[in-house]
Symmetry: C2
Amino acid sequence: MPSGKILVAQGGGPTAVINQSLVGVALEARRFRDVRLVYGARHGVRGIVDEDFVDLTQETSHNLELVAATPSSALGSTRDKPDLKYCHEIFEVLRAHEIEHFFYIGGNDSSDTVRIVSEEAQKAGYPLRAIHIPKTIDNDLVGNDHTPGFPSAARFVAQAFAGANLDNAALPGIYVGVVMGRHAGFLTAASALGKKFADDGPHLIYVPERVFEIETFLADVKATYERYGRCVVAVSEGIHDAAGTPILARLANDNKVDLEHDAHGNVQLSGSGALADLLCEEIKSKLKIKRVRGDTFGYLQRSFIGCSSDVDQREAREVGEKAVQFAMWGQNGQMRDGSVAIKRTGFYSVDYELLPLSAVAGKTRTMEDEFLTAAGTDVTDAFRLYLRPLLGSGMPDAYRLRAAPVARVLKV
Amino acid sequence: MPSGKILVAQGGGPTAVINQSLVGVALEARRFRDVRLVYGARHGVRGIVDEDFVDLTQETSHNLELVAATPSSALGSTRDKPDLKYCHEIFEVLRAHEIEHFFYIGGNDSSDTVRIVSEEAQKAGYPLRAIHIPKTIDNDLVGNDHTPGFPSAARFVAQAFAGANLDNAALPGIYVGVVMGRHAGFLTAASALGKKFADDGPHLIYVPERVFEIETFLADVKATYERYGRCVVAVSEGIHDAAGTPILARLANDNKVDLEHDAHGNVQLSGSGALADLLCEEIKSKLKIKRVRGDTFGYLQRSFIGCSSDVDQREAREVGEKAVQFAMWGQNGQMRDGSVAIKRTGFYSVDYELLPLSAVAGKTRTMEDEFLTAAGTDVTDAFRLYLRPLLGSGMPDAYRLRAAPVARVLKV
């Protein structure tokens, strides 16, 4: 007799809406008579190998709804990237608990974990349905129009730049805002949606999809400053030179600043204000401009409570619900494991499909060429049309005085 | 015959609601038959000496309402701190334009400017009414229960920490958030309002009202980390040692980091991520904790669009309206210059009074002792009661799973 047990977990960086997907799974699953118990693993795959499970079946629907609207991973998350041995351990725990369905909400590393666990189960002849549920503020999952979590983070970035632009207009100078994104510039590019008037910032946008040249950057800033008397710049933390070396690493080396590295030897890009500070220092020393300010949006952009897109909330919920439906019914009657993906079907509407895990796992999407202008320092209208509906309803708007000038009396 | 001209200007750091005060002046003034024209000076006192005026009478009421709801100073602002000569120039321009009422929206430097200009006018026997309208996210004006702009910035800080706490709970480690405030810790202390459950962060709060000892700080962080497996810290940019030296300056000196100084030789505290980075470095190197992340809230906390308190919006509007009424009618029939102040009259309601300019000008309020615990790393219930109503309606809330544990099968 089937155990009727399903397991859900959350991996990688939290988002504003990741709990919608969790609750989507938990509530939808219980509508199926085959499901008896819904477990959640604490802190992602780490909680699976540690058998650190909670029984979500005992949560009230009411509390689940409140948790769904709360940002960050309610089950806790992990940065563990399981290798084959780790995945085998995961599978052994799933088998020991007679888990029949495994849902993992995460980015491309997580989809790769699901892929390997799924293969382990097949090899062992164990009847596991393993489904990856997309989530990442980086928007870098292939096969998806966009990923849950990205719209809300993009909304935060757009609102932040809309405000920073107003502040910079009131007290003119240079403003550099550094946004998360190692390989994909989607989130940084979202800053363009904070722009309303032609002379609004961000005036310059730098993403990892283009090579960053410090000399060109300084020339761009200078030209903008001369034109508008101020300049607002949006920069991805992952900008790099032609050799692929992060600009943060290069400037830090020039300025003898120590940086943190991860287990793979990659420079830790988030969690410090170093890149913004180093870029500001370049501008001050090379362009001799006095008022230069840098902000690093840091964890605020993915964790700030009270700034999410209602479209994102809805879709994050639906990918959770659809994951359960795909697991139970398969896609077009074909029962198989996979990765839930968002497909755009109208302006604006979406549908969901199940992609093979191998089509998503471990791959990274970057910004399409059509989304960036030839100069590479601004987005195209195609990007604006792509992103605008995702930001959701109630986007705050900025207004100006029309400012009819008064004739001078003394200094005529 | 009176000219019927009034002038309004905005000074110092922008806030989320400073345009409410501007629009409060502009719309209320035109209800008086003595007022014919409402001028605005661009970029504060700088615009006055430059005679850079716009005619706000030509704005539509509709657009003024939209501008009122837009953050940052719509007229532009300035960091100029006028000396006696500068104030004399201001007065000469006001006289040349036959300005009869001067309203300056700003912090304590701005109130001092109004005071000097008012004295200049009296000396010259020129009939000027000069009124200071309070504004500052630092909440450091004496004579006020609180200042417009502070509640919205406090709300941003509370929401930011509520989110950062959730993020830190999902991926445990140390998180240091640096908040604006050179002398007054009100805004940093607002982080406590993002706390809900007993083990939520911020676990430690450091404000300029208390001497900051690096050794004590490290011991506090260590103890919290040992207790909760994580630690969220809120720090004012203005924390200093017993000698009054900013901690930023001390750590920067130890680490050979160059800092920017203002015209008065003060270290530039805002606009860089250095303090957060240096504190994180101390924690990493001295406590050997691996996951240590720092964010500097920077300009986001005062400029973010779409995160304001409705109470703040309303009061900022009212101080503008009352300023005009005080100028026209005086307080209790006594016609005189002054500084509009907010007085708390209930839980929660306020009234407004006109204080003598000399009572406010150039003075700095800091956090009252009753608002800080004996240890100095947390706020008291008195502070929570003081701040909560200011944050306004619709504060986002965080919910948790109740997390019923599941028995282990393998590792019993």
